[in-house]
């Protein structure tokens, strides 16, 4: 099967091409998911005749600190995110999430933009970005806009980007010193495995040791990425203890079942996402449990 390969030199050019050939092209942003999918089966090509390589557009790979905000170019690799001190210090759960992706090779090729726009329910960076209340910048033929991370997604492997829109930047706020965060992930093996389940947690503490604010975002268990408000509410205003943390963890499991219904995997995922949420919260609070 023939596949065209387009190398746009700017976001504008990429957007034009993507819009012009809408429905028959796929944006290549590292390719660690896309190439595997294209290979899987001709039937899975779903009419893809063009690969539009965003990786060669100059100036899309960067990590910049601007005041309280951190701007991340869409073509920044997982490896760069996992290593860069700005991320490790100000958004450590994102560094952890990116460090858990695949293997060294995949982390060196795969990009945060690709990970986000691929919109896999099992993506590693997305729960961390959602927990960090990240915003996505989309640029297209009709201009640029910013979207809150969860609103970017329309379903598994689907986003709300319009034809010709390219994700150019992800922006997160640096965690303030009163914040604690963690990313916990379970895979079938120790490397090169897709997340079976993951949980990203940010909690903000007051001086009395109470939770001032919480952000809990599980991965690989919700049809669309999002925070779980019921779990966050179970923590806010309270001093974390077995009971409150347990309640928050249960809320995540309940939310999963509420949104997905009981599926073949529910018997497994329900208790395990609860356990992982509990662990993630305690890990964020600096108490390692198991």
């Amino acid at each position: 099967m023939n596949l065209g390969y387009a190398i746009p030199e700017s976001v504008i050019e990429a957007g034009r091409f993507l819009r012009e050939h809408h429905g028959e092209c796929a944006a290549l942003a590292g390719g660690t998911d896309l190439m595997v999918r294209l290979r899987a089966d001709a039937a899975e090509r779903k009419g893809v005749f063009w690969l539009v390589d965003l990786g060669r557009i100059p100036g899309l790979a960067y990590i910049r600190s601007e005041g309280d905000a951190i701007r991340i170019g869409a073509m920044t690799t997982h490896d760069a995110l996992a290593r860069t001190p700005v991320i490790r210090e100000n958004a450590p759960l994102l560094a952890e999430a990116c460090a858990s992706v695949g293997s060294p090779q995949i982390r060196s090729m795969g990009t945060i933009g690709g990970n986000v726009m691929n919109a896999s329910p099992a993506a590693d960076s997305i729960p961390a970005l959602v927990a960090l209340s990240a915003r996505a910048r989309l640029e297209g033929p009709e201009g640029a806009r910013e979207v809150d991370m969860p609103d970017l997604f329309a379903g598994p492997y689907r986003t709300r980007a319009k034809p010709g829109e390219v994700l150019t930047e992800v922006r997160v706020d640096a965690l303030t010193p009163d914040c604690r965060s963690a990313f916990v992930r379970l895979g079938r093996r120790e490397a090169l495995s897709i997340a079976r389940l993951s949980v990203a947690v940010v909690v903000r503490m007051d001086e009395a040791g109470r939770v001032k604010g919480a952000s809990i975002s599980p991965g690989a268990c919700l049809p669309m990425p999002s925070r779980v408000a019921a779990a966050e509410d179970a923590l806010v205003g309270r001093v974390p203890c077995e009971e409150t943390v347990g309640a928050a963890a249960r809320a995540v499991a309940e939310e999963m079942v509420r949104r997905t219904g009981v599926r073949w995997s529910t018997d497994y995922k329900r208790p395990v996402v609860e356990a992982l949420t509990r662990r993630a919260i305690w890990k964020a609070l600096g108490r390692h449990e198991g």
């Binding site: 079938r188 490397a191 497994y268 395990v272 356990a275 198991g290």
Partner: protein, 740 residues
């Protein structure tokens, strides 16, 4: 050169009504479309039953069946023409579960096998009913294993080059057993064996996998080469490889064991169904080894074993590292731990109490003598290295500080060396010394990545007295050496090593004669070592190996020799399953320490001590290499690997979904090489390749049970089986574990 691509079956079980190749033949770049109608000789082949079609005719029996092959100027042209081959099918009811396949009214996969039973092996010793009556405790347990992929580095590849003037063909490829491939190609072409030359290319691995699958590919390439008169190349993608190539058999194993209160085994009754898939392939031999060894390395007076190979419409199953042993060892070694728990004794003590020693009688009535029966030794060595005794004292949940718990467990086995009563067991080699003292070494057995060329070269150098660097091991070529059977059953060092030794000794005799004259000393005083031939005990009276070779060549001496080795006699009575199944045995034990996350079901294998009696380690580094590799594969078998086949459709088609252990998953390995020289093998050497790969899964299952108190009776011990006691793969259908 032409490039070939296969069109495979669209339905797992269907009558082929019509294959229309006309449109594909007219497609750009297409040289030919090959189907069964182009096969000049046998349309089907197989080691026991000749049931596997080179190109499917009449019927498809699994989705890997090749129906037609497009041969074109480029790979792309061949691929593009594939959909133009029109095949009309009539779908037939299919069967995917061996238990269902043997039940009444099940769809029949092969005419002539009305109950879908491909073969049956029985072992009858004593009277099991009397044994159970004499027992204080009787346990019945069922264990199940999964389809497993070999996952060799490079998928199958072959090139066939026709020699039209001679009506012959030369085939190159990633071929485990060149002589087997030659036999199949000759049968399929309908020519004599000497019209087919098979040359093995360097291999990245086979693990038993590049036997029938490669014979089939070689035959397809050869048919196309003869039809077009041009060289034809076929290379499988990984996906094609996983769909088409045979797997390790899933077994359903029902074990009934009886013992007295003091822990003496009285009787064991074993019933096994092995999923043979669509074709018999090696199933009759794989299940034979299972039948011989099913009761484990234990003295049991009363044994009744029945092993059935069962046809289904799943991917066919065949040889894979272990060859019928990993499954039964998972069962009998899990069973020993379960019995120990019921009896309230330590599992190692139960094994020691009942384990084979000198003079023990196996389930097939063979007296273990003539070699050191080292079961107790390997068990103690492995147990000591893992700290089994101290760690075992802790009970499940003891010192539980969180959800992560640790446990230790072990498994032991005995294994017949080489082919045993399976068939002809002999092999050859050629040693040819050149006039400068350098050496060509040819062998009938082939390098499959296991280190054969190193070990054979070492043996040649040792016998000749030249240096190892002087020996060049040549690619295996069926036109140069006598048919030495297949490179299987971990038989290379024992069998092939003896043949190399025989050849080298013959050449050495000539060289010693010449050296004796050159040094003016009697033949019997000449010693050769490290590239020098010298008079024993006389410093300075020596001459270089190369000089002797030059002198001998100048005198017109023959400096080449054939070597041959035939295995000692074995015997087997198919009716009773009694006899001397193998001429010698090896003993092994692997002990594992694991960590189990009781909230997620995640098992981490932390450390494995692997004690294996190899007779004598000719190359200790490669022996340890085999142990590391076997433990790595065993880790995958025990915790990760599972080819999911749902109603005949292979779901796990590449390594993103078929999970093998990565370097991050492989535990720390403590190799323990035990040496009790054997009377048959060269320098006392026996076997190491397969024993390393058959023990870890039950050791892990036993360690997980020690850690958690939960017994998992189905492989692999993945997240769901460990946490919930059952698989959650939507695919699984009726399968599930923890159904005591």
């Amino acid at each position: 050169m032409l490039f070939a691509r296969m069109l495979r079956a669209r339905l797992p079980h269907a009558r082929i009504l019509r294959v229309d190749t006309r449109q594909a033949e007219r497609a750009p770049g297409v040289a030919a479309v090959v189907t069964h109608a182009d096969v000049p000789g046998a349309r089907a082949f197989g080691p026991v039953h000749q049931d596997m079609p080179v190109f499917a005719f009449a019927k498809t029996r699994y989705l890997g069946d090749g129906v037609a092959m497009v041969v074109a100027e480029t790979d792309l042209a061949a691929e593009r023409a594939l959909p133009l081959v029109l095949v009309e099918y009539e779908e037939l009811p299919a069967v995917f579960d061996p238990e269902e396949a043997v039940s009444k009214g099940a769809p029949i996969v092969h005419d002539g096998f009305p109950d879908n039973i491909a073969n049956h092996h029985a072992v009858r010793k004593g009277d099991v009913e009397a044994g159970f009556r004499a027992s204080d405790i009787v346990l019945v347990r069922e264990y199940r294993t999964q389809f497993v992929e070999h996952a060799y580095i490079e998928p199958e590849a072959a090139v066939a080059v026709p020699n039209p003037s001679e009506g012959s063909v030369t085939v190159y490829g990633s071929i485990q057993n060149p002589f087997t491939a030659r036999r199949v190609v000759a049968q399929v072409l309908g020519v004599s064996l000497n019209r087919v030359r098979v040359i093995q290319c360097a291999m990245g691995g086979s693990f038993g996998g590049k036997d029938d699958a490669m014979s089939c590919m070689c035959a397809r390439a050869a048919v196309a080469a003869m039809k077009t008169g041009r060289p034809v190349r076929i290379v499988n993608t990984r996906e094609e490889s996983i769909v088409e190539s045979y797997k390790r058999h899933p077994y359903v194993m029902r074990y009934k064991v009886g013992a007295t209160r003091d822990g003496k085994l009285q009787a064991m009754e074993i019933h096994i169904l092995a999923d043979a898939g669509a074709y018999a392939s090696m199933t009759p031999f794989v299940t034979w080894r299972s039948a011989v060894q099913a009761a484990g390395p234990y003295e049991i007076s009363n044994v009744k074993t029945d092993v059935y190979g069962v046809f289904t419409n799943n991917t066919y199953t065949g040889a894979m590292r272990g060859f019928g042993s990993p499954q039964i060892i998972f069962a009998h070694e899990s069973l020993m731990d379960e019995l120990a728990a019921e009896l309230g004794v330590d599992p190692l003590d139960l094994r020691t109490r009942n384990g084979f020693r000198e003079g023990s009688v196996t389930a097939s009535g063979q007296v273990l003598d003539g070699h050191r029966v080292s079961l107790a030794e390997v068990m103690e060595r492995a147990a000591d290295a893992i700290g089994y005794r101290e760690k075992r004292k802790a009970l499940p949940g003891d010192a539980k500080t969180g959800p992560i718990v640790r446990g230790v467990g072990l498994a032991a086995s005995y294994r017949g060396v080489s082919l045993g009563a399976e068939g002809v067991d002999a092999t050859g080699a050629i040693v040819s010394v050149q006039q400068d003292g350098s050496v060509y070494l040819y062998a009938g057995l082939a390098e499959n990545g296991q280190g054969l060329r190193t070990v054979f070269s070492q043996i040649a150098a040792e016998e000749l007295g030249c240096s190892l660097e002087d020996v060049v091991f040549m690619d295996t070529d069926t036109s140069l050496v006598p048919d030495g059977g297949p490179t299987v059953a971990s038989r290379s060092t024992t069998m092939g090593g003896n043949a190399v030794r025989d050849a080298a000794r013959k050449v050495r005799e000539t060289l010693v004669g010449v050296a004796a004259e050159m040094l003016g000393a009697p033949c019997e005083t000449i010693v050769s070592s490290g590239g020098e031939m010298s008079v024993a005990g006389e410093c300075g009276r020596s001459v270089g190996f190369g000089e002797v070779a030059r002198e001998a060549y100048g005198r017109g001496e023959l400096l080449a020799a054939f070597g041959w080795y035939r295995a000692p006699k074995v015997s087997w009575d198919e009716e009773t399953g009694q006899g001397k199944a193998y001429f010698t045995y090896v003993y092994g034990c692997q002990a594992a320490e694991v960590e189990v996350d009781t909230e997620t079901g995640k098992v981490r294998v932390l450390r494995v001590a692997a004690a294996h009696d190899v007779g004598r380690a000719i190359n200790p580094a490669t022996v340890e290499g085999q142990i590391y590799g076997g433990v790595a594969m065993g880790t995958g078998y025990g915790t990760l690997e599972e080819v999911e086949i749902v109603r005949g459709v292979t779901k796990t088609r590449n390594f993103d979904e078929y999970l093998i252990a990565t370097s991050m998953d492989v535990p720390e390995v403590v190799p323990i090489v035990v040496e009790n020289p054997d009377s048959y093998g060269p320098y006392g050497a026996k076997t190491i390749g397969e024993p390393t790969c058959e023990l870890l899964a039950p050791a892990i299952a036993n360690a997980v049970c020690h850690a958690t108190g939960k017994r998992v009776r189905e492989l692999p011990l993945d997240l769901e089986r460990v946490l919930l006691g059952r698989s959650l793969k939507a695919a699984r259908g009726r399968r599930g574990s923890e159904r005591a």
